[in-house]
């Protein structure tokens, strides 16, 4: 495969942690070019590139920027969502740890394009080291004239502030993040109004994921047409980071053109761990419905996966082999979502808790005949009925284990036991 890494091209070069080193590696060219363009031209270029949000929802990035109201006498903000807390996802961490200036450059381009002079990077609380690295890089950028009163001498004023979260999954939801950023309880807001109109501190706000922003320098520097040449089709363009974990020989973050087939990705990872058989895989982080092994030829892009009953999400690929109890996996995820639900919406507060109980008892061999149907009915009431998408996220694994692995579920109920012997992994037992 003749794919030259884009986002990860500087990974392995520790020199890029400084402004000078990053410049030597070709950095800040995109920002310099952007500053010579009109902001509208930058927005146009990004729209043309077809870049879709890499945080999970896959919303077209340039289009999102155009939702900012014009002629409003209020400051605009960019918030970089670095609260990477979707289980299985570790791509943004890599970008921030190993190439922080790429993110700073992306933030600066976005701010220039949308007319924001302040950017908040909301980073998850557990990312202590990435936060420190970012802070150092930002300080360096201020001292080198990349940030501050005149970005690269253009007269454009820009401040970037790193804000550390306190460890709640829900603060990765963009309005939950804003509440947390404002110092309140991290509870998603009812929309509309959308953040583009009423965002951080009541002002118009663009919220983009780390990886999304990291794409911007390259789009500006090399053009939308180059970006569009990578990927599956017009709607799924550009390079994508896949964070692979689970039963593969070489887990890790892989940068590939968006839309690579799961099997190809698996091969790049050295195949299944110890040559075992594939049982199931999650293509897009914990909230993506689990797919069965027969789906191994699916293309890992936004639209194909949506059509296949799952989603690309954060592109965290979790691979499970034949020794895995998928019911236990689903039960464990249900526990996660029940733990992380903020509790404000009834279907999510009560539903995630109920799903945890029912999947737990099925897994323990205490399930009832009616439990599979109960899960289907219950998860239906949880889908699309809440303020944010956490409820839908919880439905992903819970429903898919019933739909795609019905035989496993029935076996648990029929035999009144889990057919897979219990194993203790690091961190299990909770």
């Amino acid at each position: 495969m003749a794919f030259e890494p884009v986002l990860t091209r500087n990974i392995g070069n520790p020199a890029v942690l400084t402004v000078d080193g990053y410049r030597k590696a070709g950095g800040y060219q995109g920002l310099a070019k952007a500053l010579k363009m009109q902001p509208d031209e930058v927005v146009e270029e990004v729209k043309k590139s077809g870049l879709r949000g890499r945080g999970g929802a896959g919303f077209p990035c340039g289009l999102k920027w155009t939702f900012l109201p014009k002629g409003l006498d209020k400051p605009r903000y960019l918030v970089c969502n670095a609260d990477e807390s979707e289980p299985g996802t570790f791509k943004d961490r890599l970008l921030m740890e190993r190439d922080p200036h790429q993110l700073i450059e992306g933030c600066a381009i976005c701010c220039w394009a949308v007319g924001a002079h302040t950017c908040y990077i909301y980073i998850r609380g557990e990312y202590v080291e990435p936060a420190a690295i970012l802070e150092r890089a930002i300080r360096d950028a201020y001292e080198s004239g990349v940030l501050g009163d005149s970005v690269l001498g253009s007269g454009f004023k820009l401040d970037i502030v790193v804000h550390r979260g306190a460890g709640a999954y829900i603060c990765g939801e963009e309005t939950g993040l804003l509440e947390s950023l404002e110092g309140k309880r991290g509870q998603p807001r009812s929309k509309p109004p959308f953040p583009a109109v009423v965002g951080a501190f009541g002002c118009p706000t663009v919220i983009n994921n780390v990886e999304t922003l990291c794409n911007l320098p390259h789009i500006v520097e090399r053009g939308a047409d180059w970006f569009k040449s990578i990927g599956t089709d017009e709607r799924n363009t550009g390079p994508k980071l896949y964070a692979v974990s689970g039963h593969v020989e070489r887990p890790g973050t892989y940068e590939l053109p968006i839309g690579i087939k799961f099997q190809e990705l698996l091969d790049l990872c050295g195949g299944m761990y110890q040559g075992r058989q594939l049982k199931a895989f999650v293509p897009g982080g914990a909230s993506a419905p689990m797919l069965a092994a027969k789906m191994r030829d699916v293309k890992l892009d936004f639209d194909t996966l949506a059509k296949s009953g799952s989603m690309l999400g954060s592109a965290a690929v979790i691979v499970m082999d034949e020794t895995t109890c998928v019911v236990r996996a689903a039960a464990r995820l249900a526990k996660f979502f029940a733990h992380e639900s903020c509790g404000q919406c009834t279907p999510c507060r009560e539903g995630t808790h109920w799903a945890e109980l029912v999947l737990g008892r099925i897994e323990r061999g205490e399930g009832r005949e009616s439990d599979a149907e109960l899960m289907l009915r219950m998860t239906k009431n949880m889908s699309g009925t809440t303020i944010c998408a956490l409820s839908d996220a919880a439905v992903g694994p819970a429903r898919s284990v019933i739909v795609n692995f019905r035989e496993d579920v029935d076996q648990h109920i029929r035999e009144r036991r889990c057919p897979v012997p219990p194993r203790r992994f690091f961190g299990e037992g909770n």
């Binding site: 709640a168 009812s190 639900s341 509790g343 009834t346 279907p347 009560e350 995630t352 009925t385």
Partner: protein, 537 residues
């Protein structure tokens, strides 16, 4: 104004109206828990989801505003019905279902909506219920108890303390299924409006320490009335069982108390039980109290009023009289040619009730000083004022001193003041309370409480508001209006047998401030009077 069609019924609404309010305009009730017209919209109970044409997902009616013409909404859509059943099921799975011992039973949002929108069965297992151990009766403050097991996390109480009382005592703690409300250590729910959180709590999570277990709500009779705690004039509902008042609840009046009332006001009916009741007319003869008939009592009063040879006749009114009673008292003074008309009202702490105009503050400890003064109970030329009677020696110069009512303030219980008033040769006291003052009276006339009367109060803003009788007076007590009317009729037969409506009409004809008002057509929110200054009759 944009139009919206809800379940086939089209209505014009101001732009920005949410679908719950728009629904009410066409008679479609959209079920909801967290929405309250005076609190910020959070859309979190998810009970009000409706189908909006053109939207892929169900929309929260509380958070969806009608902005432009042609929105089409279905509430009776099968998807909506299924959603409502689902939400009800979710709400009930962890609910203790302890209705038989729950104070909210009978006025509970969960009961009502279960009946209307729920299912008749549960798929949840009893033994798995989430509970909040040790949190079944947590005092949030002096007036409110929390049973966390019953809470449906609608956040109305949280928003009330943040947005209306602005005291922020209640907050959310924890999250997910363990989300709970509570107060911060050392910061109890203790503000003047705290019991309002019990009113707005849709379930039995928050109960009032005052009302708890006092009565099953379905045994309560409810009558609209006014609070007598101060001169704000909060609109209330008197809830009683056979004349025993169990609680006051605020009643919506946007111009006055909106949806709210203060904790003090809710306790004011306690005085009707705290002071013994004067139940029959009574004369003091030779140091002994003797029961007499109404006719004898009234004749005795008139005899004293007409038969005096020297000395003044003074009338001391109170802020607890209705405006009509004040008017009749002033007319009685006029009939005997007395300029000695005064009103005594205790001052109280300032009490502020928030409303959308910014709030209204009362400072009197009685509801109607302005109305009684307006009706003519102000000293005429050379007349005694309240201080002269209560603090000075004016009473000693009185042939007859007529005090209404017997519990006009703290002074009615003060032996020194009573001794001073007692210096009048004849002391007539009318009122519901058998106060020390009533016991010292030569003639005591039992009157109805305000709950047993009807009439009007004029509040601190000069707003005239009418209230109804909640239940009949006990014993031989009669509404003050009838007593004063019968006394007046003995001077002028034109007053014979007049009812409240006719007396109001005479009052409206006599007082410029009430010009053009009629008893029957007084608007529900009251009438703001142009002037509230009192003038002699």
């Amino acid at each position: 104004m944009p139009t919206v069609t809800i379940d086939g019924r089209t209505v014009d609404v101001p732009a920005g109206t949410n679908l719950i309010e728009a629904g009410l305009k066409v008679g479609v009730q959209i079920p909801h828990y967290c929405y309250h017209p005076r609190l910020s919209v959070v859309g979190q109970c998810r009970m009000c989801l409706v189908k909006v044409e053109g939207m892929p997902k169900l929309q929260a009616a509380c958070a969806t505003q009608v902005m432009k013409d042609g929105m089409v909404v279905s509430v009776d859509h099968p998807e909506v019905k299924a959603l409502q059943e689902g939400v009800m099921e979710f709400l009930l799975i962890n609910h203790p279902l302890d209705c038989p011992i729950c104070d909210q039973a009978g006025e509970c949002g969960l009961q009502d909506y279960s009946f209307k929108h729920g299912q008749s069965f549960s798929r949840f297992d009893y033994e798995d219920k989430r509970t909040y151990p040790e949190k079944e009766r947590i005092p949030l403050g002096p007036t409110v108890l929390l049973n966390m097991n019953r809470c449906i996390q609608c956040s109305r109480c949280v928003r009330f303390t943040h947005e209306i009382s602005k005291t922020s005592e209640i907050s959310f703690f924890e999250r997910g299924a363990h989300l709970e409300i509570g107060t911060f250590p050392g910061k109890p729910l203790d503000n003047e409006l705290s019991t309002c959180v019990v009113d707005i709590c849709p379930v039995g999570a928050l109960t009032s320490t005052q009302f708890r277990f006092a009565e099953r709500v379905w045994y309560l009779d409810k009558k609209p009335s006014l609070c007598t705690g101060c001169d704000v004039g909060c609109n209330i509902t008197i809830e009683h069982r056979r004349g025993a008042i169990r609680r006051y609840k605020p009643r919506l009046n946007e111009a006055v108390n909106d949806f709210w009332m203060c904790d003090h006001g809710r306790t004011t009916f306690a005085r009707y039980a705290a002071v013994p009741r004067l139940a029959a007319p009574r004369l003091l003869r030779g140091g002994e109290l003797q029961g007499v008939t109404w006719k004898d009592a009234l004749d005795a009063v008139v005899h004293k009023l007409k038969g005096r040879s020297e000395g003044a006749v003074a009338f001391l009114g109170s802020g607890f009289l209705t405006t009509e009673e004040g008017f009749l008292l002033a007319q009685l003074a006029a009939a005997v040619g007395s300029p000695h008309r005064a009103v005594s009202v205790d001052g109280g702490p300032a009490r502020t009730i928030p409303n959308r105009q910014g709030g209204i503050t009362g400072r009197d400890a009685a509801p109607n000083r302005r109305g009684v003064e307006l009706a003519g109970m102000v000293p005429g030329e050379g007349g005694f004022d309240a201080d002269a009677l209560l603090l000075g020696d004016a009473a000693s110069r009185c042939a007859v001193l007529f005090v209404a009512d017997s519990d006009f303030g703290a002074a009615a219980h003060d032996p020194k003041v009573i001794a001073r008033l007692r210096q009048a040769r004849v002391l007539v006291v009318m009122g519901w309370a058998d106060s020390p003052l009533a016991q010292a009276a030569d003639i005591a006339l039992p009157a109805a409480t305000h709950a047993e009367s009807e009439g009007c109060f004029v509040n601190v803003d000069g707003r005239l508001q009418r209230f109804e009788r909640a239940f009949p007076a006990i014993g031989e007590a009669r509404p003050g209006l009838e007593v004063l009317r019968d006394l007046l009729a003995r001077f002028d037969p034109h007053w014979q047998g007049l009812g409240p409506e006719e007396i109001f009409a005479r009052m409206a004809a006599a007082l410029p401030a009430l010009k053009g008002l009629a008893w029957r057509s007084l608007p529900a929110e009251g009438v703001k009077l142009a002037t509230t200054g009192g003038s002699p009759p």
